[in-house]
């Protein structure tokens, strides 16, 4: 099966500033991929390029199309939520349903109506009257009613409280995700999404610093709580990051056999957020 998104040497410049620097990435169908990076790392530039919202250098295909040249056709099979505040304030909920239903051949009106029926939101409300959380519910209902192969979410829960964020991701995983769909999420709040991702792509200063499935992460990376008397021996194995918490020292290793490391202390698989911090502040790659 061909990759859903494939980028080779994807570069985006804004004048002298290079937002994306020869990035390579690949997203396979049926995955939930987190594109993770600090603010200003190039996440949004990468997404804008993938969604056909901007020009770029290098090669990029999304669902077999060139996004910038072919945005209209691409949007027939792919949808995105840029962030919570983009539904126009004058638009009424029923107008939004009518409009998307009118222009999108893959929109299933009954589904959108059913999803909204579960909320407190009525059709006669205008977006400006809704809270951020409610706007997100409307946008998600509109998007989930589209039979799309690829869903792209750019910081979808920015500015939402914890209840709304949880509801958002629960709806996404329970009511939307199945093996025919692929989701690409960008966020800088790693903890929030790490349990639902199947793959992660770390991006920093415009470059991809890690592109891996979570299964691979478990075999590739090991974190060790190193016993105080084994510090020097452990350092000899070249950990790429060292963390001191409450008198304990945790070291992160890549591609070192667990057997070797077991001698230094207790082993565990690093969480995505640990790895993210380790990878980006450790200065590896």
């Amino acid at each position: 099966m061909p990759a859903l998104i494939e980028a080779h040497d994807l570069t985006k410049r804004y004048g002298a500033h290079v937002a994306l620097d020869r990035a390579n990435l690949k997203v396979e169908p049926g995955r939930i991929v987190g594109l993770i990076g600090p603010n200003g790392a190039g996440k949004t530039s990468a997404l804008r390029a993938i969604l056909g919202l901007t020009t770029y250098e290098g090669q990029l295909t999304v669902l077999g199309r060139e996004p910038y040249r072919d945005r209209t056709a691409l949007m027939g099979e792919c949808c995105f939520i840029a962030d919570v505040a983009v539904l126009p304030s004058w638009l009424r909920v029923d107008q939004a349903i009518d409009f998307v239903g009118g222009v999108h051949p893959k929109f299933r009106r009954d589904r959108a109506v059913a999803l909204l029926a579960k909320t407190q939101i009525t059709g006669d409300r205008r977006m400006r009257e809704l809270s951020k959380g409610m706007k997100t519910q409307v946008h998600l209902a509109l998007t989930m009613a589209i039979d799309a192969k690829l869903l792209v979410l750019d910081e979808p829960t920015l500015g939402l409280d914890i209840l709304a964020r949880r509801a958002f991701y629960d709806a996404l995983v329970n009511d939307y995700m199945d093996e025919t769909r692929t989701i690409l999420i960008t966020t800088h709040q790693v903890e929030e999404v790490e349990n639902l991702l199947t793959d992660v792509i770390f991006i920093d200063k415009g470059r991809i610093v890690l592109d891996s499935s979570l299964d691979d992460i478990a075999t590739r990376f090991v974190a060790v709580s190193v016993a105080p008397d084994r510090l020097d021996a452990a350092r000899a194995e070249k950990p790429f990051y060292e963390r001191h918490i409450l008198g304990k020292v945790v070291m992160y290793f890549e591609n070192v056999t667990p057997e070797k490391l077991a001698a230094f202390g207790e082993l565990h698989t690093p969480s995505v957020s640990d790895l993210f911090v380790a990878r980006l502040s450790g200065g590896a790659a």
Binding site: L53, T54, P88
Partner: protein, 286 residues
């Protein structure tokens, strides 16, 4: 086609002023007709009655036409900018609608749909006002405001004016759309200042070619599209002898079509619209 209809419908949702302004303006004229001071000279002969009827309808039409020009200009200047300002462009672009369709829908609304809405409003208002005035001033007006053939001619004149002004003002509309798709703020200033600055620079160089072209484009439509000078018979001092007996004679289709200025301007307009579409494709940020 289906998409275009939805896009036009969307403009009505977003810009309720499209119909609110002519409705309110028409309402004010009706109030004026109801309670205003009516001072109309006695109308004697039949040709004179026809003139009064014709002038009455044209005056109504012109008032709406002036308001419409101001609103349409504002609409075209704001339409693409507004999507970027509230970031809703990211929602519109998440739908399978091309930027070409989107920009053209706004052009069609600004140049044809809004004028047609005002045309209907002018018709309704003038009919109501004619009814009210002929009751209030029965003695002097008689039935002079009711001239079915003049009314029909005015309808044709209006449609002719809508089509010809849409073609004539295409370069202006194209420029407004370019500014609307491009400017980071102050669309009004950006639409006026660059051409004005060029004219001033040109003035220092000792020529006024650009200024002449701009003036001709902004104010030259009646001269190009309407036979005889519209100002002479619709101005403050109406000399009845100069009013054409038939409105048909105002329409100058062959003169308009054969005027090279019309088509050079239209070509410039098309180029600017293509530019606005390109800008809409790559500019999502304010």
């Amino acid at each position: 086609m289906n998409n275009s209809l939805w896009l036009i419908r969307r403009e009505f949702w977003e810009n309720r002023a499209i119909w609110l302004i002519p409705a309110v303006f028409g309402g004010l004229l009706i109030v004026a007709a109801l309670f205003g001071h009516v001072d109309i000279p006695e109308v004697g002969s039949r040709p004179e009655a026809r003139d009064v009827g014709g002038i009455f309808l044209i005056a109504f039409g012109l008032m709406f036409f002036v308001v419409m020009s101001v609103y349409s200009t504002w609409y075209l200047l704001d339409c693409l900018y507004a999507d970027r300002k509230d970031r809703s462009i990211l929602f519109w672009k998440s739908l399978p609608l091309s930027d070409t369709e989107t920009v053209l829908s706004k052009l069609v609304v600004g140049m044809l749909v809004i004028p047609v809405v005002y045309f209907i409003a002018a018709d309704v208002t003038s009919l109501l006002a004619a009814f009210i005035l002929s009751i209030r001033a029965r003695a002097s007006l008689g039935s002079s405001l009711w001239q079915p053939d003049v009314w029909l001619q005015i309808q044709v004149l209006w449609l002719y004016a809508i089509v010809t002004s849409a073609i004539w003002y295409l370069p202006i509309a194209g420029w407004l759309l370019v500014v609307s798709a491009w400017a980071k703020r102050a669309v009004m200033l950006w639409s006026i200042l660059p051409p004005l600055a060029l004219c001033i620079i040109e003035k220092f160089l000792g020529t006024t070619v650009l200024w002449q072209i701009l003036r001709q484009r902004l104010f030259g439509w009646p001269k190009v599209a309407v036979q005889g000078s519209i100002h002479r018979w619709a101005g403050d001092h109406v000399d009845p002898s100069e009013i054409p007996r038939s409105v048909w004679r105002l329409i100058d289709v062959s003169g308009f079509i054969s005027n090279p200025q019309v088509w050079i301007g239209a070509a410039v307009g098309v180029a600017l619209i293509v530019g606005a579409i390109q800008l809409r494709m790559r500019r999502t940020e304010i």
